[in-house]
Each structure stands twice: as C-alpha cells, then as structure tokens.
C-alpha cells in the first residue's frame, strides 16, 4: 500500500529513496517520518507545476 508520500519498503524492496521537494516538505517534517519501513520513492512523488507564459511576471 502507498499514498502520495510514502510506500512500504517491505512491499516494494526495489524502490529507491527520493528526497522530498523543498516546497512539498518545507520544514522537513515528512522527511523525519520517512524512517524504518516508510520510503518516499518515485512511485509516490507528486510534482506540482504551474503553467505560465514566457515574459509573465515571476510570481513566487
């Protein structure tokens, strides 16, 4: 079983650990949970994008 943050290492032994994107986990809270059986891998990495037009204001 997995969600959009973690996979069980036991159920997916070949999964490679990925660091959390800094905007997803700004305070490192999720990274602290990813110990033991829980692993954050490519399978449950959700990327968040925004579409913009070149030359538009850089809103941050």
């Amino acid at each position: 079983m997995s969600n959009r943050y973690f996979t069980s290492r036991r159920q997916n032994p070949s999964a490679k650990s990925l660091p959390f994107y800094h905007l997803v986990d700004p305070n490192g809270v999720l990274a602290d949970i990813a110990v033991g059986d829980l692993i954050h891998s490519e399978e449950n990495d959700v990327k968040h994008f925004e579409r913009y037009l070149d030359g538009e204001n850089q809103e941050k």
Binding site: R4, E43, K47, H48, F49, E50, R51, G55
Partner: protein, 137 residues
Amino acid sequence: MSTCRVPRNIILRPLVRYRRMDPTKFKTGDLVEAQVSFVVVPLKGGGTKMMMVLRALTLLDCQQSMVIINGKSRIQALTHSYLHKQDAQREKTKLAFMPSSRVGTPLKRKVGYGGEDTAVIETRRKFHAMSVDEHNN
C-alpha cells in the same frame, strides 16, 4: 534596403513554460491538469488490482478563483462604505443577511454521489414505481 520580415505570430506568441510550484497555491476553482499512472499490483489471492496514482498536478488557470478572491474584497469594501455610520453590531448582522455576501464564500463541491439532489432521488423513485418489467405485468 534590407528589411528582415519575420512572421508576426512567431514574435508575438508567448512561449508556454512550466515551473515547480508550492502545492498550497492550488485553490478551489482553479483549472488544473492531472497526470496519473494506472498501476496494476498483484494481490495475495492471485488476482490483480488496478490503482490510479497521481503523478503531477499542473495549475493551468487560476482566473476563476481570482474572481472569487477579488469579489470578496470588493464586497467587503462596499459594505464598509455603506455601513460606515452604523454601529459594529448592526454591521455584523447586516453582513450575515446580505444576499451578496454569499458570493464571497469559497466554492464547495461534494466528491462522489452521497448527497444527491432530491429531484434525482424523486425521479428514481418514480421510475421504480412505473414497474416497466414486462414479466410481472
């Protein structure tokens, strides 16, 4: 005379680009694009199970949610000028009963089909009552 004529549409069309975004910037009413994977996993009993896994979410257009946010501040500004001379208690009461104050409330959508319209339920009940089954009649 050496005028270089470049097709206008090439110059004027802005390039669409994508950049990583803070996930908390998604608001209700945004137009988004979701990229999903269909993953099939084996089950203990021998069968398989297909799951839809969210891989990426892209904000395409936030104009609709911007209308909500702008509308909210506009209503607040209007009520403030209108009720400027009223005391705070009356302002509070009026704001609660003003029909336009509903515009400022964020959109809420129900996921799934739990709370169906009474019209839908009523129609379904009527269909049942028609008993179109030929074997019974």
